[in-house]
């Protein structure tokens, strides 16, 4: 049996280590207070630095936050903005049905931001039922260089996923947090405080910390229709 045959045989028996990290990685929203050692964050940043990007442009800027004042401050600003949005568009509470047309208009203007899931999340953040960074001791903000080649948002996503998977392979927990964008989109306060200016624009953020309990694990997900073209025919596989 050649090397390729051997590899194929092994793959039928078990997942690779990398696949295991990918499949078991779950979003972590409950962290221990203990800080993550600095060298682990440096290693995570290395995983991001070596991500592929269009034209090897590396159009990202990472900002590591390990100061509770800044992390809590960004949270407070985001909560304030969510409260404002909630007071304008939350129509699902008794007596506030009259807000429905206003909500619908806003959903039409920002359909991705006001999909049912973030619509609910906005209310939960406003009510403090959903934390922003969930008490994580370290937060990495990801900014894109808007002059980046082709699609810098995508490159930031690839770098972010590299960092997230590296973190989980070390036993850490992470969560992608994009609601923090509100603190950079609708106010200048945190851009000023962190010295963010052109050509950098906020993309997303990652919360990183030691998880409470054992949140990583295999779960079920819906299959998706995949079109498969081969031998002159198209089949749909799930």
């Amino acid at each position: 049996m050649g090397r390729q045959g051997q590899i194929a045989e092994e793959l039928h028996k078990e997942w690779t280590e990398t696949e295991e990290v990918i499949l078991k990685r779950r979003s972590v929203r409950f962290y221990k207070k203990a800080q993550v050692p600095e060298y682990m964050i440096r290693r995570i940043l290395e995983a991001g630095r070596f991500a592929p990007s269009a034209g090897n442009g590396q159009p990202w800027k990472f900002v590591v936050l390990r100061e509770p004042d800044i992390i809590n401050g960004i949270t407070e600003t985001t909560v304030t903005i969510c409260r404002l949005f909630k007071s304008l568009i939350e129509y699902r509470i008794p007596g506030k049905r009259w807000r429905l047309p206003i909500a619908k208009l806003n959903i039409r203007i920002k359909p991705a931001e006001l999909h049912p899931v973030p619509f609910s999340a906005c209310t939960l953040i406003a009510d403090r039922a959903l934390g922003l960074f969930h008490g994580a001791p370290t937060v990495i903000l990801i900014f894109k260089d808007v002059r980046g080649i082709s699609n810098p948002d995508l490159d930031c996503g690839i770098a972010g996923q590299n960092m997230v998977l590296a973190a989980h392979s070390m036993g850490l927990g992470t969560c992608w947090v994009s609601f923090s964008k509100l603190a950079f989109q609708y106010t200048g306060k945190w851009k000023k405080r962190l010295g963010i200016q052109y050509p950098y624009k906020f993309v997303t953020s990652l919360s990183i910390g030691w998880p409470v309990g054992d949140p990583d694990g295999v779960i079920a997900r819906p299959t998706h229709a995949v079109d498969w073209y081969e031998d002159g025919a198209k089949t749909v596989v799930h």
């Binding site: 899931v117 999340a121 959903l130 309990g213 949140p215 079920a220 819906p222 299959t223 229709a225």
Partner: protein, 103 residues
């Protein structure tokens, strides 16, 4: 391939109407559950309430089927039973059944 019709694309569903937005559902096995409360704590959509430490799904519960509760439960007492389904502008297209990773 399933597509969005013109009408669907432009219709904004009412988020609290179960006919227009169907949220996920999970089931608890109370024989296994040790009442540790982790699921209630970590649910991003605040879907659970604990009645005398016994977790259960609120009604309505806006579950997006992230299955973080299923994964974190130390006793394996939670099972995902129904995936989310949206209509209109957000219609879920090409989704199959819930399945674990296939080797």
């Amino acid at each position: 391939m399933a597509h969005l019709s013109f009408a669907e694309k432009h219709r904004i569903p009412i988020y609290d109407d179960p006919a227009q937005v169907q949220w996920g559902l999970v089931a608890f096995d109370y024989d296994k559950c040790r009442r540790c409360g982790l699921c209630v704590q970590i649910c991003p959509a605040s879907c659970f309430e604990a009645i005398e430490d016994k977790p259960r799904m609120k009604t309505p519960a806006e579950c997006m089927m992230c299955s973080d509760c299923v994964a974190i439960c130390p006793e394996g007492a939670i099972t995902a039973t129904q995936n989310f389904h949206y209509t209109g502008r957000y219609k879920t297209i090409g989704f199959g059944h819930l399945q674990k990773p296939r080797l």
